[in-house]
Amino acid sequence: MPQRTDIETILVIGSGPIVIGQACEFDYSGTQACKALRSLGYRVVLLNSNPATIMTDPEVADATYVEPLSLDFARQVIERERPDALLPTVGGQTGLNLAMELAEAGVLDAHGVELIGARPDAIAVAEDRQRFKERMIEHGLAVPESGTAGSLDEAEALLDVTGLPAIIRPSFTLGGEGGGIAYNRDEFREIVVRGLDLSPVGQVLVEQSVLGWKEFELEVMRDLADNVIVICSIENFDPMGVHTGDSITVAPAQTLTDREYQRLRDMALTVMRAVGVETGGSNVQFAVNPDDGQIHVIEMNPRVSRSSALASKATGFPIAKIAAQLAVGLTLDEIDNDITRRTPACFEPVLDYTVVKIPRWNFEKFPGADRTLDTRMKAVGEVMGLGRTFEEALGKAISSLEGGWPDAGGWSDEVLRERLAIPTPDRLGAVFEALRRGMDSSDIHRLTHIDRWFLHRVADIVAVERQLDGRFLSGLSDEELRRAKRMGLSDAWLARILGTTEESVRSRRREAGIEVVYKRVDTCAAEFQSFTPYLYSSYEDEDEAGELDADRVIILGNGPNRIGQGLEFDYCCCHASYAVRAAGLRSIMVNCNPETVSTDYDTSDKLYFEPITAEHVGAVIARERPRGVVLQFGGQTPLKLSHSIGPILGTSADAIDLCEDRERFNALLASLDIRQPEGAMARSRDEAIAAAARIGFPLLVRPSYVLGGRAMKICYDEADFQAALTEALDASDNHPVLLDRFLEGAIEYDVDAIGDGQDIHVAGIMEHIEEAGVHSGDSACVLPPVDLGHRLARRMVEATVRIGQRLRVRGLMNVQIAVQRDADGGEELFVIEVNPRASRTIPYVSKATGVPLAALATRLCLGETLADVGLPADRVGAPLRPALRSRGGYYFIKAPVFPWGRFAVDDVVLGPEMHSTGEVMGVGRSFGEAYAKALVASSMRLPQGGGVFVSVRDADKEHLADIAGPLYAMGFRLLATAGTWAALQEAGIPAEQVFKVREGRPDIVDHVRNGDVQLMINTPLGRKSVYDEAAMRLAGLRFGVPCITTMRAARAAVSAIRSLRAGELRAVKLQELPPSPA
């Protein structure tokens, strides 16, 4: 069937901010879809609130709206752009839900917009667990016993059918949010109540547990002619009971006979047809009883999913791209396989290698959170290892993780057994440890239910370890060394076993000629020639990397996504690659994160899917002999390699060091006469205590060489300090601990700049909306600044220029500056931090200013000057460029989103350690409009009326009236705790006094529960938060009441509410924004 000609304009909905369960895989799929549709000649309109995506680059779609993914904004976009069709299947659960909302609200019908890819009835069947179950049974497929409940009573009645343990799954939530496994009645009630609340339709499914069954997923595609193919089978190393996003997974499936696999395949095809997904990719999950082969269908996603992104990278088959092509009527036999060029896309990829995905968690950011893995996804990222065998792939995935590996050697046998039995991020480490201690694989199987085949493979690796243990590197034969490498042991791993250094292992290995070759991922197990150099290393005979026909530049990616290092860096890496290609050179990407656009095989001229380590990157360099390596775009991960690899294109390794090494950095700023908060560096507890005594409180304590403010704490007294110091010393891994005077009440600014080794151009100044003390990644910020005077702005530019020139920055740099007002109204500027690399804000600044910073920075790395790329240099003493003050009167606000709801956390207050997973951008003609949009986009339910609870610390009371006054005037009812109430009385603002927790009932938590409060403004006391405040904020989180914890944010929220009430939130098309003035 040829492509449809009755549609011209197609609306694509993205997935919004990165949250747990919905990460940058949807940038990958959305970008592919947009490109595919445009290359077929369609006009593409894109709606996505996440500015850090490639898909929201103005070149990717014809009309791009970085606006909230809400009914209102989607309606505005539809009214303006008049699309003929809407593709809802590439924007994750968020995109699908919004499409359904639009359909149900009649917006699609009213404007004649057709849903393509998945029709509403099919989506409804796949998403409504009860209907899904009925449909499966109608088609003769088995499903676990279950029923849906809209109340706790209904749920408890279902236990008669399902028994305990039981799985609770709320309807229409993402990544299993709100669900869980209940082993007893108490747990059951708790999870059901939570699930009912989180489900947008107030419904949960209670399901018979098939814990311990084997879990498989099949990625399926169907075209309008009813041709169905399976792209990939995935087997979960962790059996049923752990969310697939939290499971180690393996492709292809390893423990099925053909007869069993074909049964799954038949069922997957039946599911696809039974649900009625007409075109595109879907994912079907199965549980298989290992004792008798009985199969249950667990669920299906009628859309491109995280698993399909993984399957695309695992096989080389571009699922999202093809799904988009199928949605407009093409059939599978009409689409070419890009990789072989000669054969069509209607085939089933085969693998002659094995793929292992390991999730990456960030539990260390959420002290007190339960680390048990269950049906709710908790991982923030993932790595993929490719190898010719499972062992090799597993070893590479482990190398890619960058830590996250438990120190299991110290566990007692009892603890070890517990770590095996209860799934946590430590379980793989526990399996290794158990085998090292000689535990029988049958015992491990009994505790973990992990299939014996996998356990045997791990046992083989441990056997190799054992052979080498306690021996000397020099005593190893070449054959033994080669065997160990073929079993996936990295040089660093071998060095640990042999008691030597990684470098020694490497040089011994090189002497013996034990080096990797590169194999291609080609969808066809080498049956046909492949044209896409998508490569992975292996200790084999034949190398297929091939030669490129021009000078090469290697770009290092950011590895697994973590809080603090995510999508933003992948965005920069992609642009670096595009810029290298545009410069007539050949770009080579190295990365190990399957969720990304950077690991799409057509982003670069070559893709090496490899860990970002000295060993693996070094081998790629040796193979490719590039002109240089660009490592400033991948966050902290590649930066760590600056001394072990080269040549580096861009800012020198020494300049990078200079910024990380506290003493050198202090000397640098001192020589430039730039102030920084008084601080010290301590290598021991004693040194730290002495320094703290000198600096005094409040004091900021943090380890060096970490990203995302890991283990960073503000201490107000000795007790705080002792605790923070212990944590920082633990986290700093032999690097010193940094101590700084904390600038209470200061306002922070982020300055992003770009240099050519001589001159510096300041690209943007962002003003944080929260006060200093909140990590820059967790603070909302506005560009251009709203509270920054001309004189101070000039001083910031000058400081940035002087630092950048001294560092001879070639490429990007980010400077964090704090401004503190002293008692007599003077303003003092402090430089807090300098990072001579791409910052998290680059995509946002690029979008806000219209200047493609990452691409230009790449050109500078390659040797061009600022003048060559058309950017004016900023100079000390020169006037402030108008571009830094305004872009046609628009404001651009970046706001973070947080994963609090995923974890049973102690508190939700913002601090110097970063906790947000993603960001949104609000664009407006006023600050209020932009902030309102940003808050709506980050799913904060900003009220337009109702009750506001106010409780602020004494220091904030003088500004209380600026906030409470306007709220009262807008008709809000104010509730306040005693001290705040008194301050309001004094200011003449009527309010009701309410109890804090433990002061009496009803207290504030009761009011929140009763629905009396729609907004909370609570600035924590100037010390660590006390119990009642935490309880109150948690109640807010639980009941969806936004809680604002700083005065600046409260002021901003007031102007946002004003804009919201005025109904002045208008969708803005990026392509229509005024060009940036020079």
């Binding site: 193919i229 006979t257 290992p290 209607c346 085939f347 002659d352 065998t389 499972f390 045997h456 034949e542």
Partner: protein, 358 residues
């Protein structure tokens, strides 16, 4: 024990032996299926072939009694990147290593099978010798050179049944199917039986009268070797053209093609795997099929002979099925019985029976 795979063009691969300690010659071919190694081992069409599995791990689920496609292991040698010494499956009765040893088949692992596949892709399927018993190089060359190769080999006669037998005899059969056995896979017989047919199995070197006796449909099975080496079989088919409905799969399809006057030719490295896309040219529907063949029916001759191409292989456009109404023939190059492979083409059995008017 070390193992070696030596190819006729001089290329050799050394690895680790597995299964039987032996030296065997054959044609080296590769199969890209990711599951179903036991079905491959027991498929008579692999007679005198050394099969390279492209998937990383083989042997993971052991072997069991149900998944055998015949009574024996037919491959001459078995090659994989990695054989699992331990298996995991509730159905397994034995490990692959012991199974291969019991059947006297040598395996070799640990070699760069991807390099080997690329070599075969470039140079074509060729003679090879696999050895895991320490036989010296000189002797390996001698054995290699002594082996006659695949072209012109009437292997189907050797692997098929020597005497007729009844496989299934239900009280009220839907149809009486006479299967001409050139190395039939068990699942074909099972599917015909499941469809309610009386199934009798005949030697391939019998006469048309033997096949046609008491039958509504003659079914020509898959099998090894060169179809052009079976002129006597082709002659018997020709004698019966139009008298009875005839259907064929794989080798059977090639023989029917030859019988109506088309030619067959050898593909460079064949089609062996479970992911081969075939389009039904009448309906436009695509089926992912299981294939295992080194020879193919040539299209222009087929058309001249009055055959209509009903199925086409989408990777290379080769003939994957044809029909000849005058001669009452319908046949496909692929394996509707799968095993291993997808079940997309199971409906063909029903179409075969309808073709026979039942």
């Amino acid at each position: 024990m070390g193992g070696i795979l030596l190819l006729e063009d001089g290329k050799s691969f050394t690895g680790e032996g597995f299964g039987a300690s032996a030296t065997r010659v054959g044609e080296v071919v590769f199969n890209t299926a990711m599951t179903g190694y036991q079905e491959v081992l027991t498929d008579p069409s692999y007679c005198e072939q050394i099969v390279v599995m492209t998937t990383s791990h083989v042997g993971n689920t052991g072997v069991n009694d149900d998944d055998a496609e015949s009574d024996g292991v037919w491959v001459a040698g078995f090659v994989a990147r990695e054989f699992s010494r331990q298996h995991s499956s509730h159905r397994a009765t034995e490990g692959l290593d012991r199974y291969l040893r019991r059947h006297g088949v040598p395996g070799i692992q640990g070699i760069d099978t991807r390099a080997l596949v690329r070599h075969i892709r470039e140079r074509g399927a060729m003679k090879a010798v696999v050895s895991t018993d320490g036989t010296d190089a000189h002797e390996l060359w001698r054995r290699l050179e002594a082996w006659p190769g695949m072209a012109g080999r009437a292997l189907a006669v050797e692997v098929g049944t020597r005497t007729p037998y009844v496989f299934h005899d239900p009280p009220q059969p839907r149809a009486r199917v006479s299967v001409v056995d050139g190395g039939v896979k068990r699942n074909i017989l099972r599917l015909l039986a499941d469809a309610g047919c009386r199934v009798t199995v005949h030697p391939i070197d019998a006469t048309f009268e033997d096949w046609a006796a008491d039958a509504d449909l003659v079914f020509f099975s898959n099998g090894p070797g060169d179809p052009a080496a079976l002129p006597a079989v082709v002659e018997q088919i020709r004698r019966g053209l139009g008298e009875l409905p005839m259907v064929g799969i794989c080798l059977g399809h090639q023989l029917l093609g030859l019988a109506i006057g088309a030619d067959t030719y050898k593909l460079k490295f064949g089609h062996r795997g479970a992911n081969h896309p075939v389009r039904d040219e009448q309906t436009g529907r695509i089926e992912i099929t299981s294939q295992n063949h080194g020879f193919c029916v040539e299209e222009s001759g087929l058309s001249r002979a009055g055959g209509t191409v009903t199925h086409r292989h989408l990777n290379d456009g080769t003939v994957a099925g044809f029909r000849h109404d005058g001669h009452r023939i319908m046949s496909v190059q692929f394996h509707p019985e799968a095993c291993p492979g997808p079940h997309d083409s199971r409906g063909l059995v029903e179409r075969f029976l309808r073709h026979a008017g039942v």
